[in-house]
């Protein structure tokens, strides 16, 4: 039988919301009508991390591959008729340079299968080597061997803190107890982060396999996957995958005849950011309110129901099967001294390509932003800062763009690796406003248990708020520093300890901007509305008149060749003109 061609359709959350199901149905119909059903098979795959939906790949029976982006139902007929029947790819829909650039700078280990295999079919996973690692671990390695291999690989936790995974496992196994547990932390609560979701939706078996291997290594009887309830597709796919793995005998009693028995339970999260913190997560699984408790004792000693428990992040676990199959040496060949392997980032903000990128540890921020990121998105707005590590990460300025991405360097710079949120900010961003924005998230998500976080963050927020309103006073900056560092030192859990980071780093790297707000009552980026004067800087203005055209209330009078005049009694301070002006001439 001749090889069949394939049509891959990305159907993760992003693909589905872009209409992938409808496109898929239409394609099926069209192939059928055109008599191509037995030459091309349609295959559902996960998202690839780039927002170009609907994204489809056509792989011809002899293995050539074309990628189409932004495909809609209306394009289906054309693609089938032109490309599949006439052999003429539809040029206007083919993925362009951006797409290529986005993937070129990446090293996709964790995301390898995302967008390539059918996440709802265990056979597809097995066909690319899935569950080989489990077989190898159970049949050829002792639990200690597994731990040693993971330790030797240098894998560190991808959930934020970066604790060496092998060491964590070894500590946990070292505690005598009636039973032990292992938990996969799939609570991914950072706004903007979706790497764990993509893995769960695109390659759930790799996480399950990693979890079983972890269970074997530490001697656990049961594993849990604690997944955000806001991830219905991931939950659905995990359920399917767990059932399939159970049917295949990868989960259950006496797995693959090894004598090792292990079950996995899927738990839906309680819908709070702090539930991703490991002790809060444990409380939540135990049926209590998800509130952190102080460590030590660490979960590895006393975790779920008091038993030694390993908690690992989705991405951490997804790395495990790959390390077991390819060896520690393979993994540690990539990265820096302290940080091995790759890291997935959710690249967002003012860059051309936003989405998930996986890069080797040790590449610089600049390489990331201007490589896969494709550089700045808005013409005329230069790079200003990156916020790395999610809402409790830090803002790093241009001068630090050559900082290598590894745990130590980022921490030293005042940011954190976090779970891998990375937001690029351009000149149109006010750093006080940014700090306030991130803080508003942690203020709302503080669990309310300890005082510095519950009350202190609100007080920090209030000061930022008054600065952005032009009501800042002498001493506010010092107060932010004092209170921010006090919270960092005294809060109980990671949320409170890191929540002041955006404030502290922006004060550290953009102090002048704060001072401008307080002393000059001016927002240099033109963001803080109460501080804006809506004046045209005649030194900068090129008299193009674009501002007059965008003003929704007609408050700007302009005649060709002259400076525009803003009628402040009409102005509603919507900032349309400021954003429109190519020369940043309006303030």
């Amino acid at each position: 039988m001749a090889f069949k061609g394939k049509v891959l359709i990305c159907q993760g959350t992003s693909g589905v919301s872009g209409g992938a199901h409808i496109v898929s149905e239409a394609l099926k119909q069209k192939l059928h009508e055109s008599g191509l059903s037995d030459r091309y098979e349609i295959k559902r795959v996960g998202d690839r991390g780039l927002f170009r939906d609907v994204l489809i790949d056509i792989i011809s029976p002899n293995g050539y591959r074309w990628t189409y982006e932004r495909v809609s139902v209306e394009d289906v007929d054309e693609i089938v008729e032109s490309h599949l029947i006439r052999g003429e790819p539809v040029k206007r829909l083919l993925a362009g340079d951006d797409y290529r650039m986005f993937f070129e700078g990446q090293l996709r280990w964790v995301l390898k299968n995302c967008g390539e295999i059918d996440p709802e079919d265990i056979e597809d996973y097995i066909s690319v080597g899935g569950y080989e690692a489990l077989r190898k671990a159970l049949h050829e390695m002792t639990p200690e061997d597994v731990i040693n291999e993971i330790a030797a690989s240098g894998l560190r936790g991808r959930g934020g803190a970066g604790f060496p995974t092998g060491v964590k496992w070894r500590i946990c196994r070292g505690y005598e107890a009636p039973t032990r547990y292992v938990i996969c932390n799939a609570d991914e609560g950072d706004p903007g982060a979706f790497m764990d979701r993509s893995v769960l939706e695109g390659d759930p078996h790799s996480v399950i396999e990693g979890l079983i291997i972890a269970g074997y290594a530490i001697g656990a009887s049961k594993g849990f996957i604690y997944c955000r309830a806001e991830y219905p597709l991931a939950i659905r796919r995990l359920k399917i995958a767990l059932q399939q793995a159970r049917d295949k005998g990868f989960i259950g009693k006496d797995i693959l005849g090894s004598g090792f028995s292990f079950d996995i339970v899927l738990k839906e999260g309680a819908g709070a950011f702090v539930c991703g913190e490991e002790t809060a997560l444990i409380a939540s699984i135990e049926g209590r309110r998800g509130m952190p408790r102080a460590r030590p004792p660490f979960p590895a000693e006393k975790g779920l129901w008091g038993m030694p428990t390993v908690i690992n992040n989705v991405e951490t676990l997804a790395n495990v099967p790959r390390i077991i199959v390819n060896g520690a040496g393979w993994f540690s060949s990539v990265g820096t001294d302290g940080s091995k392997g790759t890291k997935v980032f959710a690249l967002a903000g003012k860059v051309k390509n936003t989405g998930l990128v996986e890069v080797p540890m040790g590449v610089t921020l600049r390489q990331l932003v201007f490589g896969p990121g494709g550089g700045m998105a808005r013409k005329g707005y230069a790079f200003k800062a990156v916020q790395i590590g999610g809402p409790s990460g830090g803002c790093l300025p241009e001068e630090l763009l050559d900082t290598p991405i590894d745990y130590e360097s980022l921490t030293q710079a005042g940011a954190i690796m976090g779970s891998g949120g990375l937001i690029v900010l351009d000149e149109g961003t006010c750093m006080v406003d940014v700090a306030k924005f991130f803080l508003s998230f942690t203020v709302a998500e503080s669990c309310g248990k300890c005082i510095p976080c519950r009350v202190g963050l609100v007080r920090l927020y209030e000061v930022l708020d008054r600065i952005t309103k032009g009501e800042g006073v002498e001493g506010d900056i010092e107060f932010l520093e004092l209170l921010g560092s006090a919270i960092r030192e005294t809060a109980l859990c990671g949320l409170g300890k890191t929540a002041p980071n955006p404030v502290l780093t922006t004060v550290r790297y953009f102090r002048g901007e704060y001072e401008a707000h307080i002393k000059d009552r001016r927002c240099p980026a033109g963001v803080c509305v109460p501080l804006l004067r809506f004046e045209v800087d005649e030194g900068k203005c090129i008299k193009c008149g674009r501002c007059a055209r965008v003003c929704p209330v007609g408050a700007i009078a302009w005649e060709r060749g002259s400076f525009p005049i803003i009628d402040r009694s009409k102005c509603i301070k919507c900032r349309a003109c400021i954003i429109e002006c190519p020369e940043h001439a309006i303030n």
């Binding site: 709070a272 702090v274 309110r289 509130m291 408790r293 102080a294 030590p296 203020v443 709302a444 998500e445 503080s446 669990c447 309310g448 248990k449 300890c450 005082i451 510095p452 519950r454 009350v455 202190g456 963050l457 609100v458 007080r459 209030e462 107060f479 004092l482 209170l483 006090a486 030192e489 005294t490 809060a491 109980l492």
Partner: protein, 887 residues
């Protein structure tokens, strides 16, 4: 023992201690707010921060000491961090300390004055949040969220100590508050009003209502149930204004239930009896003590012998009970003396006596903590014995296996691993069924049975009858559950059995007790720590009333009246002849009175007209009696039948001892003068005796009575008031240097052969079974908020929490009868009828109904069958066939 260096000086710390504990123990203060010694550390307030060399700033309430650790409690960094935490804490705290009830006792004030605030910065931080409404719904305490510092002590108390979790954190971030489920007023939650959270709250956020600070405190024992919690009475003038638990007591470790903590209002109630009363022309008139006592003495002189009966009080002290039986036996020349144990735990005394040789619980309450398995049957513990109930909940929370068997779905079901909802009256079948499973699976303790027990073969033979199919049929409990419960009980050792009136108040109550005794012996669970059987005695001194010989067949210490040597000992001591004929038991006294054989009653502190079965029969008997003396603190339903009422002193007004359910004899102390003209009961009994010309009733203080008890009672031989200071002594205590006996039967049983005696048993249905005319089974019990009748109804708050009777009906039965929740209904038995309202609830199984007996308005006991257990003569309160109609 790790040694740490705190501020440079070496401190020896306990293993596993936190830095804070180690420092406080060494007299070094570290400010702290959310720490409470009874609770797990939480690390909330961040005021206890210290600097540990090499680790930086840590919360000392959580960090454990390590050998050689260097801790600095007052570095500039620490001070700054603490100060900022404190300022943040105060930013939105209501600052009107002077009008706060906790002023001067507030821990927030204490830490604030120690740490101090930076005025400048504080001004910047200060921001008063909007005022939140108070929660005044609970009658005993107030919740003021505006004074709350969210330390979580209340939340942890309710969870860790009380085991309920009625309150928790709610919402997030700055909006976080402490709330009940659904943020409802606290009375609408599952809060049990125990007040444990209130006593621990460091601020004015949780305060007792109408709190008045006591001027002094007097140590005593709670007057309600048989747990015997140790308390401090807070006294102001001649009034008891506050009660708190005694932290040093092994019985309750400071804990109290709602009645013990808040139910003291009856002591100074305006309704207390203040003068002796004599009934003239159907009206009570006040008389002097001389008049009353002379009248009683002259009348009683006419009824000597078996035409007289005395009912002793399970509310009164051991000394008073001793005197009542001494009076009955020595002065009135009859053994007709009994007490309310006849209505509750006489089957325990009889049953455990047959099986083990001692009619008391085998193990101390604190043994609950160490049990691997706890089997609770026929006890709604969290309601009737709340402080033991919370201990059980805590044990289950800690990981002990909890098996609960009860016809009703009681609160403990929520915490149990196995729940068995057996049909009322089917306990022997259930327990023998379990025994059979254990025996057949080979889970019995052969060595224990061989070495320590007798009559095992006959017992095994009697298991024959208890095929599991038959047991399932009789008990309505699925076989699998019986097997599960039996297996757990037999394998999770040590296993402890806890039971109460659900076992005893049956026409075969003693057999139920024997079935439990069998089960414990079968698995070798006797004579060991955290094992055994623990009967939960009903009233504060019901154990003592029996111990003191207020039972018709025994002198104090269960010395039989039939035993000639014993009799001669007492005759010599008391200087009189004593009857060898065992007297009448409680129900029999009234049955005989109806026949005219008993003609005079001396009733001390018992509201028997409403607490005995077939109440109408009792009323008739009382009416028929020629002379009835009632000694009481409040006007009761029984007192109304009296010819003379003698006002007694409450427990707060006298010295003496109570004996709790674990045989612990504990001192109560006079805290206030008797109310009005009331007199201690021991004085009254002695006065009557003396006025009848008796000798041997000249005591100047109850301690002299105890000395006499000790002389005459081997198991009390080592007791004296001096020795009872502190936590009391558990009898047997046979000599002045004997430490008491927390656990019975360690070496041998107290039976004549020294062996534990197995009893073969047969299943017998209850005396009354449902039929077409009376299709439902009524079972009775207690409410958390009431005790019997007279005391708790004088406490406004308790009445508010539970104002009236309700008959619980299963929705299936209710709908068949066309009855909706809250409907007025008529409840009819073969003996009478009462009116009440219905509570429709799944908590009773179809075919069964439940009522309490706390309300004079609804005298439930009119309905109840007086069928007696042939061995213990205890009536069947727990099974009455009834019919319910809409009214």
């Amino acid at each position: 023992m790790p040694a740490v260096y705190i501020n440079g000086s070496k401190v020896e710390a306990k293993d596993g201690a936190t830095i804070l504990q180690a420092a406080l123990d060494a007299g070094i203060y570290i400010p702290h707010l959310c720490h409470h010694p009874d609770l797990e550390p939480a690390g909330i307030c961040r005021l206890c921060l210290v600097e540990v060399e090499g680790r930086g700033i840590v919360a000392s309430c959580q960090a454990q000491v390590e050998d050689g650790m260097a801790v600095w409690t007052e570095t500039p960094m620490v001070q700054k961090a603490r100060q900022i935490s404190l300022e943040l804490l105060l930013t939105n705290h209501l600052g009107d300390c002077l009008s706060c009830p906790k002023d001067n006792e507030c821990k927030l004030q204490e830490v604030a004055s120690y740490i101090g605030i930076n005025e400048e910065r504080f001004k910047q931080l200060r921001m008063l949040a909007p005022q939140f409404p108070l929660d005044e719904s609970n009658p005993f305490f107030l919740r003021d969220p505006n004074r709350c510092v969210l330390c979580g002590i209340c939340v942890r108390t309710c969870d860790e100590i009380q085991g309920i979790g009625a309150i928790n954190y709610a919402f997030r971030g700055f909006a976080t508050t402490i709330a009940t489920f659904g943020n409802k007023p606290i009375v609408e939650s599952n809060c049990e009003s125990c007040g444990e959270c209130v006593v621990r709250c460091p601020t004015g956020a949780l305060v007792p209502k109408n709190y008045r600070k006591p001027a002094k405190e007097v140590k005593s024992i709670c007057p309600y149930c048989g747990v015997g919690c140790s308390i401090y009475l807070g006294v102001r003038g001649n009034e008891v204004v506050f009660v708190r638990g005694d932290k040093d007591s092994p019985v309750n470790e400071g804990q109290l239930c709602v009645k013990g903590r808040f139910g003291f209002g009856f002591i100074n109630s305006p309704e207390r009896l203040r003068k002796p009363l004599v009934k003239r022309n159907g009206e009570f008139v006040e008389v002097t003590w001389d008049e009353a006592l002379d009248l009683v003495a002259s009348k009683f002189s006419q009824y000597k012998g078996d035409q007289f009966a005395a009912v002793a009080s399970a509310r009164c002290t051991n000394e008073e009970n001793y005197l009542v039986q001494k009076f009955a036996r020595a002065v009135m020349q009859t053994n007709n003396v009994d007490n309310c144990a006849r209505l509750c735990h006489a089957p325990t005394v009889a049953g455990l006596n047959i099986a083990y040789g001692t009619g008391g619980g085998t193990n101390p309450i604190s043994d609950i903590d160490g049990a691997s398995c706890i089997f609770v049957i026929g006890s709604n513990t969290t309601v009737a014995h709340p402080v033991v109930g919370t201990r059980i909940r805590r044990a289950a929370r800690r990981g002990a296996t909890l098996i609960v068997a009860d016809p009703r779905r009681i609160e403990l079901f929520n915490h149990a691993h196995v729940c068995l909802q057996q049909r009322p009256g089917s306990d022997v079948a259930l327990l023998m069924g379990m025994a059979r499973v254990i025996y057949e699976q080979g889970l019995h303790d052969e060595e224990f049975i061989r070495e320590r027990c007798e009559n095992f073969e006959a017992f095994v033979e009697s298991l024959e009858q208890f095929e599991l199919d038959f047991v399932e049929e009789v008990t309505n409990v699925p076989k699998e559950k019986i097997i599960q419960a039996a297996t757990l009980y037999a394998t999770r050792k040590p296993s402890l059995i806890i039971y109460s009136l659900g076992i005893t108040e049956h026409s075969h109550g003693a057999e139920n007790v024997l079935a439990l005794a069998n089960l414990a012996m079968l698995t070798g669970n006797v004579g060991k720590p955290s094992a055994g059987v623990m009967p939960l005695r009903g009233q504060n001194n019901v154990q003592g009333a029996c111990d003191m010989g207020c039972i018709p067949a025994s002198f104090p210490g269960y010395q039989p009246v039939k035993d000639g040597a014993v009799r001669r000992k007492f005759e010599k001591a008391w200087g009189c002849r004593l009857s060898e004929k065992p007297g009448l038991t409680l129900v029999e006294m009234f049955q005989e009175a109806l026949k005219g054989n008993v003609r005079a009653f001396y009733i001390v502190g018992m509201d028997l007209a409403y607490s005995m079965p077939n109440a109408r029969m009792v009323w008739e008997a009382l009416e028929r009696a020629e002379f009835v003396v009632v000694q009481e603190i409040l006007m009761t339903g029984t007192a109304k039948f009296a010819h003379v009422i003698l006002p007694g002193a409450s427990f707060a007004e006298k010295d003496g001892t109570f004996t709790n359910l674990e045989r612990r004899v504990q001192l109560i102390r006079k805290a206030i003068e008797p109310i009005g003209d009331a007199r201690p009961d021991w004085w009254i009994t002695c006065e009557i005796a003396k006025r009848m010309g008796a000798t041997g009733f000249d005591y100047s203080h109850p301690s002299e009575v105890m000395d006499e008890i000790a002389r005459l009672t081997p198991s009390f031989a080592g007791m004296s008031f001096a020795r009872l200071e502190g936590a009391g002594i558990q009898w047997p205590c046979t000599s002045p240097d004997h430490p008491g006996t927390p656990i019975l039967h360690i070496e041998a049983f107290n039976t004549p052969t020294g062996k534990g005696h197995f009893s073969p048993l047969q299943y017998k249905p209850p005396a009354e079974m449902p039929d077409d005319e009376y299709p439902l089974i009524l079972t009775t019990g207690r409410s958390l908020y009431h005790f019997h009748l007279s005391m708790t109804r004088r406490v406004e708050g308790l009445l508010a929490l539970h104002p009236e009777e309700r008959i619980w009906l299963n929705p299936k039965d209710a709908s068949k009868l066309g009855i909706a929740d809250g409907d007025k209904v008529k409840v009819i038995s073969r003996r009478g009828e009462v009116f009440t309202r219905a509570k429709v609830t799944e908590d009773v199984a179809p075919g069964t109904a439940f009522m309490t007996f706390h309300f004079y308005e609804t005298p439930t006991n009119i309905l109840v069958n007086e069928a007696l257990c042939p061995i213990a003569k205890t009536p069947e309160f727990k099974v009455t066939a009834i019919r319910v109609e809409r009214a």
